[in-house]
Every structure is written in C-alpha cells, then in structure tokens.
Amino acid sequence: MSSFNERHALDGLQRLESQAISAIYDQYFSEVYRYVRYRINDDRTAEDIASDVFVRLLEAVQKKQGPQSSLKGWLIATASHAVNDHLRRQYRRPEEALSDAIPDGRPSIHSEVDLRDRNRMVQSAYAQLTPEQQHVLDLRFGQGYSLEETAVLLKKNINAVKALQFRALASLQRQIGEVNHE
C-alpha cells in the first residue's frame, strides 16, 4: 500500500479506470466500513453504506465535485452524511430501529454483565447521541485517530475537538446510566 499515489489514483478515477478505482477502494474501504459499522449496528447495512460511499466518489469525480485536498477526509465526511441519512430514515420507522439497536434490558438487571451485553448497552446509549457527538467518538475511539487527525477531518481546531469529545463522552456516560436504569 505504500505505493499508493493519491493524485495518480484520482486522475485514473476521473477516467473511470478499474485499476485506479480498485487501488482507492483497497486503500480506504476498511476504514470507511469501520467508521460506518461503529455507528450502525448491522454488518450488511454498514457494508452497503460503505460501498455506496465509493459509488458517490465515482459520481462526484465525474461531476468535478470530488475531493480537493484529502481523499480520506472526503470519504469519511461522505460516510458521516450517509450514516446520518440512514439513521434519519430509521427514526421514521422506529419499529425496525428498535429491533436491533435496543437491548431487551434483561441482562442489565444482573449485577455482572458480560462484555457483549455491556457493549450492546453502550451501543444503545451511543445511538442516543447527536450526529456530531457520534462522529467525534467514532473518529477518536472507533478509528483511533489522534486529536490532530480528528481536528482535520472535522475541520475544527484542536481546542474545539477537545471540548466536543468531552461533551460527547459526558453525554455517553449519562446515556449509559439511563439505559442501565431502564
């Protein structure tokens, strides 16, 4: 992957060259998938959304609206929008959303829960956060990006990201407490 040349790949993408498309896909699909999967608790839906992000890239480049500076930044930002759209649609159909995202609650009444149950509870609490809070936690803890990388991807300064991640974690902690009490 060290031979990946982003500029060259984008030029090839403009011409819809399979080789360039494959190179970009191999370079970034896993990251995009992990980002999406962190926020959406369903493998196949996350796969569909992640691959759709690459199709949007193809279309955007054809319309000369593709990435200007960072390809990775463009992909993550597009993935964030795609997830927001998906979640918005899901909120309109709450009966489907509840089936996977909300735990049945029975494990939480036990004093000791296993890691899987705990994670399910955290995911449920996480789903209650604002899109921006979800975004920053995904980048920092789902993707493991540094504060600086996150600031670039969010197009914010570092102090703003520090404040945002503090509020996001505080909110997550509150939501976990609420889910725990249900």
Binding site: L16, S18, I21, S22, Y25, D26, F29, S30, Y33, R34, R37, Y38, D43, E47, A50, S51, F54, V55, L58, E59, Q62, L115, R118, N119, V122, Q123, Y126, L137, R140, F141, G142, Q143, G144, L147, N159, K162, A163, Q165, F166, L169, A170, L172, Q173, I176
Partner: protein, 352 residues
C-alpha cells in the same frame, strides 16, 4: 474548563498507552471525580470499536463498485457519442445559416445602401447601421462611425431635395441660426410651425438638436414636427464648420424667406415682424459682410428655393454653406448646397 478538557486528553493518551483509569487520574487528583466517569465512558466507546471487514465483504463490495463504474463508463461513452453528433449537427446548421445570411443578408444590405427615407429598403439600411455601431467595440471607431451615419442623413436629405421628394426625415445637427420660423440646422433649412414640438429648454444657436420632420416637395426645406435638444456629447455631422461662411449664410435665408413670404401667401406685416436671432460674433460679421459684399446676400443655397424666393437666376452661382470661398471648384460637388447641382447629378433611379 480548558484545564478539564486538557486533563481529559492527557488521561486518554495515558490509557491508550496501557495505563489504567486510576493511574491516569493520579496526575489530576482535584479533577479525578469529575474525569473518572468520562474516562470510563471513553473505555466503553473504545470497546465497541469493530474489527476489519471480512475478506468476503471486501471482495463483494469491490465488485459492486467496479460494476457501477463499468455502467458509468458505458453511459459516458454513449453520451460523448451523442454530444459529438449534436455538435456536428449544430456545426452544419450554423454553416448553412451563415451561408444563407452572407448571400441574402449582405445582398439586401448592399441593395439598401443607396436608399433614402421613404424607400422600402430604407429601414434595412438604418438597421444595418445600428448593427455596425453595436458591434464596433473600439470607442474611437464607434464615434467615427456614428458621425459618418449622421453625415449620411444629411446626404440623404440633399438627395430628397434634389429629387423633390417628400419624406419623413430624422437627423441630428447644430443650430446655425434662428431667423424667426426658419432655422438653419447643419446647413439644412428647417421651418418651424405652431405644430412643431420643441423638446428641451434653452434651444438656441449652437445647440445640438435632433430634427424630425418632412421634406417638402421641391422646397429645399424640412418642415419640423419635433426638435429635441440633444445632450452634450451627442454625435453630429461634420460636414461644415467654417464660422465665417456660416455667418454669411445666416443672412440670406432670412432675407429670402422674407421675400418669399412677402411675394407668396403670407401677409407683409406678419413677416416683417420676424426677428433674427444670432450669436454676437455672427451679427457683427454679417453686418460687415453685407456692407463689403452685397452680392453674397443672394449667392447661397437658399437662393435655389423656388417657393421661398424669386431668385432662381442665382442658382448658377449657388454654393454650399461650407465651401463658398471655393465656389468654382466645388459647386458641382456640393454636398449640402442648392438644388440645381443635385438635379443635374443625381437623377438616377432608386432601389426600392
């Protein structure tokens, strides 16, 4: 608050390096109670991080993306073919239209170039002139073109006079004199009547005006329907501009006009009350001229106005207002003078 955010970031880095929450908090005992639940939430957030996608998922979705790219390639190829065809068709149509325009359009314009007001093709001539001005982007060239067109208007008037035709005319000019109801506008005699509409304040000798009116049969005169004061900078014809000659001329039309009125249908008393309006310079010079050389009083273009005076015999000495000093050489080429020279030189037919 900034200290809290900064302490959180430092603690997060410690935990990332493998430290426990309590170990990380040792640095900030004062903030420990506040930071502890936040750090616990951060560990929870990190624990829900997902693994990399399976190889099957990667392959499956790569195929999906590449398939979409293939569809887009196909659509693009069809689109470019269609674009090429449309471009070719447009090119052919453009060439045909240009050919038709160049053959019929320029022929029409050429045919209209010799027309005068009242001719059927005259509007084509004026439209073509407007187009030429509109598509001349060099300001100096545009100004010159507009002056040229104004000269053309005067030329058309002379042709109408020569043919004794009556037609609606519209021209720009500078007022050379205002002798009662008879004004001289750029060497054209303009008759003012009660029906003449004067637009603008302070129209006087030297003013640039636009005259709309009608030429009168065999009279070398325009009956004015409207005289409009033009703003500064308006384009005027540049046919004649020699003050001395103009001043000589100012005298004559009035005289002849008065003669004409007296011998014609006007009452004597009425015409004798006509006042002469002139610039101070022209007044003094005219007085001198009339004393020194009385013959000049009758040797002007106005002398050829058969309906205005009885001095047809003077036509042989007729000269233009601008060229009176070179009578002999310029009489036959007079561009703004009396009717006789035009009658002899411009008797040809017209393209209607």
């Amino acid at each position: 608050m900034n200290n809290l955010y900064e302490a959180l970031e430092v603690c997060l880095r410690e935990i990332e390096r493998g430290a426990s929450i309590e170990a990380a908090l040792l640095r900030y005992p004062d903030l420990a109670d506040e930071l502890r639940p936040i750090l616990e939430a951060s560990v929870d957030a990190a624990n829900i991080a997902v693994p990399l996608p399976s190889e099957t998922a990667v392959q499956r979705n790569r195929a999906k993306v590449l398939q979409r790219a293939a569809q887009m390639r196909e659509a693009k190829a069809k689109s470019s073919q269609r674009t090429w065809f449309v471009s070719l068709r447009r090119l052919v149509v453009t060439v045909v239209v240009l050919l038709v325009l160049s053959v019929s359009g320029t022929g029409l314009v050429r045919a209209s170039s010799a027309t005068v007001p009242g001719d059927n093709l005259y509007p084509v001539k004026r439209t073509w002139e407007d187009m030429l001005v509109a598509f001349t982007f060099n300001l100096q060239q545009r100004d010159a073109l507009e002056v040229e067109h104004e000269n053309e208007r005067l030329q058309e008037l002379q042709e109408l006079f020569a043919e004794g035709r009556s037609a609606k005319v519209d021209f720009n000019g500078s007022i050379k004199s205002q002798n009662g109801n008879l004004w001289i506008v750029s060497n054209i005699s303009v008759m003012i009547s009660d029906q003449t509409e004067l637009r603008g304040q302070g129209i006087s000798v030297g003013s640039a005006v636009r005259v709309k009116g009608t030429t009168q049969g065999n009279n070398n005169i325009v009956l004015a329907e409207q005289i409009e004061l033009l703003p500064a900078g308006a384009k005027l014809p540049d046919t004649e501009d020699e003050p001395e000659i103009q001043q000589e001329k100012h005298e004559d039309p009035v005289q002849q006009f008065e003669d004409s009125s007296n011998s014609g249908n006007g009452s004597d008393g009425e015409r004798q009350t006509v006042e002469e309006t002139k610039t101070p310079e022209s007044e003094s010079e005219n007085n001198n001229e009339s004393v020194e050389d009385g013959s000049n009083n009758t040797n002007t273009e106005w002398g050829s106005d058969s309906n205005l005076n009885d001095s047809h015999e003077n036509e042989s000495n007729d000269n233009s207002g601008s060229n009176s000093e070179d009578d002999s050489s310029l009489n036959s080429n007079d561009s703004s003078g009396g009717g006789s020279s035009y009658e002899s030189s411009d008797g040809g037919g017209r393209d209607d």
